[in-house]
Amino acid sequence: MSDLLSLESSTLADIAGAADEAQLEAVRVAALGKKGSISALLATLGKMSPDERKTAGAAINALKDKVGEALNARRTILKDAALEVRLASETVDVTLPVRDAPSETGRIHPISQVMDELTAIFADMGFSIAEGPDIESDDYNFTKLNFPAGHPAREMHDTFFFQPDAQPGSLGERKLLRTHTSPVQVRTMLSSKPPIRVICPGRTYRCDSDQTHTPMFHQVEGLVIDQGAHLGHLKWVLEEFCKAFFEVPNVKMRFRPSFFPFTEPSMEVDIQCRRSGGEIRFGEGEDWLEILGCGMVHPNVLRNCGVDPDVYQGFAWGMGIDRIAMLKYGMPDLRPFFEGDVRWLSHYGFKPLDMPSLAGGLSA
């Protein structure tokens, strides 16, 4: 039995001394392998008498189990240690900066963002979006809108013209760049029947350039034509629009009689605000800020567009998209809108996933 004891102690010492799984395996093979020391002892059992076998067998099998357990225990320890070493070796500096996601660096221009905001608001009120060409005829830009030829109101528009049409057989018509989005109203009335509810956002042009004017700018107009649309409805639509757009619970608006050739009565609308420093807050304060023009569509315009002014009536309004963007988001100047300076665009632009919706709020 002392042999068994010394084998046990030497084998367990070998197991404990195994530095890695390979050494441990060598120990296992030396003890439990085909030619291992314990396997050899087991092989001797066959030559023993039943009594001897009983005693010795139990002792050898006990040794075998003990060694097996010790091997397993040691293997687990060595595996864990090896894994720890591996993991330690795989450690990286997680404080290293990663690259910005493209959706983090991309930007939507404020004009596009505001157009999407306008769309969200007016789509909810049942308005469609009507569009028309930038290159217009004098007829659609002026005459059909009740601007008499030679009238001073026409001159106030600083129109960009093209050369008269020199094609043989043409009437020598001189096309122009639309000075407002109102010709889209004409096109809409000519091509569809009331009830009409559209907004017409788009690019407009006037040959005027200084600190506050650019030769190209953006306007949005609205048009409602049906049998009962009156000034009270116009006021409501504009009040609801301003509340929704500027995201304030209340706005106070002032309607001042004014003049536009294409509306009668005509009004300019001021919105109540407070100015402090460069910031403007709406829904409070003592100042008035002019924000848009509007009125009931002039009977001459309705007639010019094939709508009977004694049956149908309606209203229209127009405002600068760039201007309301500046008012809402606080850009101090208009000119940088069109300069493509990525510093400006990154600062005032919007992230691609900032999609305006009424459900989630127009702005983040």
Partner: protein, 810 residues
């Protein structure tokens, strides 16, 4: 239009305060631009008495004055004015007073050793005139200690209204007063103008020399001589009013014409009768005829302009400006007063052609009251006689007042129909009558009336105009805001068209690629337009604002490329930008297309720009542009099955590093690639630069589906497997051809094909390349046997060999 409060009160009997008047003007459509009260800046200046003025001990030109300022304690002031003397009264300002003429605030001081506790002021220091030769010398009865503005009655606030072009009646103070009276702010004063009794016939006759079709150019012309006048400065009250609205007093005769212009919206002209030779002829100018006008400039005229001429030639440009030759000066003794009517359109056009803006043109082009032409002449005559004396002739009148009586059949319900506002009939009628409209027929029909439009309101043509008059006086604020009923009483419906949706989605998709949206001018230079396929004559502006903004853009790329360079010039070389907007292929409305374009510069790769520990971004290239384009097309839901990419793009792109995207040979949707070096040179920009441009209008619509249900998901039970092939092909064979050939070899089984390697060099013959293609096979019914897999592989190789001349790499 400018006027003062006291001037207004000449025409309006009112107790209303300035604030109420200003607020009402804006409310009824005469928007007040600003109010200036000259008294405000002079409120601290007081009347003072100089008790003693003696020589300054240390300065020859200075005096030391003891001044009584009404406080009981005399104040010592050092004064440099030559006219400072004992016993005079002048204007005093205490330390701390802002001196407008010097733009400084007065302090206490010691001047050459003598203390000075204030200042005696010149008129220039108060900005009352240019006189700075001495201090203001007031009469002996000026009350010491009183505010100077009160004593001198300087407190007459000036109001400027921003007049809309439809209101010629409000170009005169009288018309403004009429509006205010209608708005309930007082009573309009009626200044009846009696004709002046002429004691002799006017020696100068007037001939309106026009062809029949031109008679409208000068329908009426009244002329009168006043002889024996003394023309000097106009009286103080008139000068003060003219100055407060920014006009320079000239002499009494000229000042009278300016005064009546603003008082009544009735421009007039005065000729020095002694300088007029023969009768006056009103006619079209002769081509090239010249006149030296009162502004000192010589104008060369065209026949479109109407003139008043005599034997000397042109004496005056009708309705715009008089001539220097026959102008009135201090020596004038006989004056011819002209009050005429001109055609508004003609005056507008002449004024524009000549580039002259005058108070007369401003009124005539809006349309002056035809009925006030002759009363205007009479009013001017009375003023001339009152201020300059003289004896009037009888009035010569050529032509006649055009009939302009507009009567409008007006249902009073129109007000409610258009505005939603319910008003008492009597209120509506009263408003119209106070504005000078005649209201007839109400007795016979409670709702319909006939409204006669007064001669001074040429803008009122129809029912809507009448409704506006009533509503603007009632106050637009009294219109109640009324919810606009929904067209469908339900959840709002989608409203965007496919193109509108795609335009919006394109922006989001490109921004999500890390690109920044720019909005650039719709115009580019002629050279840039030509370089990008445009520059047609019909797209060139006749009046561009600058030479480099002369032509409508045929492409978004030149604007983006220039913007990228501007950023690079500021030190930001790695920029990635896009624009979605209109381009112009012609002047027709169908020639305007919506395109999306993007550019990348420097190392602005989709994964990030510049150096980074994880790897340095290389220069942007054709594949970055292609990847942006493909990402956008995918986001737009364009069915990409039929999309072909063909080598080579537009002429402005690098011929070997660009591609054309098309759905069939006739439907090219756009290009991508690196730019041609000549393009960069033309634009004066530096690369590396790549970009794409796609016409959104030309993209095929997604296939229409009857329901929203997605197609059935079919999952195979069998493992997919991948086989790699290396094809050696001619260098010129496009990868797309190989991929197409693979696909067509075994349509049912091939789930994906990808190029995993492209190699040229050692081991590959010259002029050839090896293209590594990974093919994923997806068995549907059973696991494939090795034999079956080999059969499929054989078919793939055979097909690719047949289509591209490929051989398998050994």
């Amino acid at each position: 239009m400018k006027f003062t409060l006291s001037w207004l009160k000449d025409h309006l009997e009112t107790e209303a305060a300035l604030d109420e008047i200003v607020e009402t003007l804006t409310r009824i459509g005469l928007e007040v631009e600003y109010v200036v009260d000259p008294a405000q800046k002079l409120k601290d200046f007081t009347v003072a008495y100089v008790i003693e003025a003696k020589q300054h001990p240390n300065a020859d030109r200075l005096r030391v004055c003891m001044v009584d300022i009404g406080s009981g304690t005399p104040v010592q002031v050092v004064c440099g004015a030559p006219n400072a003397r004992t016993g005079m009264k002048s204007v005093f300002s205490a330390p701390g007073t802002y001196i407008p003429g010097k733009d400084m605030t007065l302090g206490k001081g010691v001047i050459r050793g003598v203390e000075s506790n204030g200042m005696l002021c010149s008129a220039a220091e108060l900005q009352l005139s240019d006189d700075h030769d001495g201090i203001i010398d007031l009469p002996g009865d000026a009350p010491v200690g009183a505010r100077y503005v009160d004593y001198a009655a300087l407190s007459d606030p000036m109001i400027e209204i921003n007049l809309t072009p439809n209101r010629p009646d409000a170009t005169g103070v009288h018309g403004i007063a009429r509006d205010l009276a209608a708005a309930g702010l007082g009573t309009l004063k009626d200044h009846a103008i009696k004709p002046a009794e002429g004691s002799f016939a006017c020696p100068v006759d007037v001939k309106l020399d026009f062809a029949t079709e031109d008679k409208h150019l000068a329908p009426l012309f009244a002329l009168r001589l006043v002889r024996g006048v003394r023309n000097g400065p106009s009286p103080d009250w008139m000068q003060k009013r003219l100055k407060s609205i920014g006009l320079r007093p000239i002499n009494a005769l000229v000042d009278i014409t300016n005064y009546v212009t603003f008082d009544r919206g009735r421009p007039l002209h005065v000729f020095d009768a002694k300088k007029v030779s023969g009768d006056l002829v009103v006619r079209r100018a002769r081509d090239g005829e010249q006149v030296l006008a009162l502004d000192g400039k010589t104008y060369t005229l065209k026949p479109e302009t109407v003139v008043i001429a005599d034997n000397n030639g042109v004496e005056s440009i009708a309705g715009i400006m008089g001539g220097e030759h026959s102008g009135c000066d201090e020596a004038t003794t006989d004056v011819l007063i002209e009050s005429a009517l001109w055609d508004p359109m003609n005056i507008a056009r002449s004024g524009r052609d000549l580039g002259v803006v005058t108070d007369a043109r401003y009124r005539f082009e809006r349309g002056v009251d035809p009925a006030f032409c002759i009363p205007g002449a009479e009013l001017a005559t009375h003023l001339v006689i009152e201020l300059c004396g003289g004896e009037p002739s009888q009035l010569v009148v050529a032509g006649e007042q055009p009939r302009s009586e507009t009567a409008i059949d007006f249902p009073l319900s129109e007000v409610q129909r258009l505005t939603g506002l319910t008003l008492e009939t009597s209120d509506m009628v009263r408003t119209l009558e106070k504005l000078g409209f005649g209201v007839l027929g109400q007795a016979t029909n409670a709702d319909r009336v006939i409204v006669n439009v007064p001669s001074w309101r040429p803008d009122v043509e129809g029912k809507a105009d009448i409704a506006e008059e009533i509503v603007r006086i009632a106050g637009v604020d009294s219109v109640m805001s009324t919810p606009l009923p929904r067209l469908d009483a339900a959840v709002a419906r989608p409203i965007l068209t496919l193109l509108q949706k795609r335009t919006r989605l394109a922006r989001r998709a490109l921004a999500a690629q890390g690109l920044v949206e720019a909005v650039t001018w719709s115009f580019v230079s002629k050279e840039q337009a030509q370089g990008f396929g445009g520059g047609q004559p019909e797209l060139a502006l006749a009046n561009p604002i600058a030479a480099d903004l002369s032509d409508m853009r045929p492409s978004l790329l030149p604007g983006l490329l220039k913007a990228a360079q501007r950023n690079a010039d500021r030190g930001l070389g790695d920029v990635a930008m896009f624009e979605v907007g209109q381009v112009f292929k012609g002047a027709g409305e169908k020639d305007q297309r919506i395109t999306a374009a993007a550019i990348r510069r420097g190392t602005a790769k989709p994964q990030g720009a510049g150096r980074h520990w994880s790897g340095r971004a290389g220069a942007v290239d054709v594949f970055d542009a292609k990847s942006d384009a493909m990402a956008m097309l995918a986001a737009l839901g364009v069915p990409l099955g039929g999309l072909h990419v063909v080598a080579g793009g537009a002429a402005f792109l690098h011929p070997g590093r660009s591609g054309t995207m098309q759905f069939g040979p006739k439907n090219v949707i756009g290009w991508f690639g690196e730019f041609h070096p000549r393009t960069l040179e033309m634009l004066d920009v530096e690369g590396p630069l790549c970009g794409f441009e796609i016409v959104l209008d030309d993209l095929p619509a997604p296939r229409a589906k009857p329901t929203k249900v997605k197609g059935k998901l079919e999952l195979s039970e069998f493992m997919p497997l991948e086989r790699d092939f290396a094809f050696v092909v001619d260098h010129s064979v496009a990868a797309a051809e190989i991929l197409r050939a693979v696909q067509s070899a075994e349509r049912s089984m091939i789930a994906a094909v990808n190029v995993f390697d492209v190699y040229e060099g050692a081991g590959i013959p010259q002029g050839k390349k090896s293209v590594g293609v990974a093919v994923t096979l997806q068995p549907r019914e059973k696991t494939l046997t090795d034999v079956e897999i080999e059969q499929i592989a054989g078919r793939i190789v055979a097909e690719v060999t047949k289509k591209t001349g490929a051989s398998l790499r050994g």
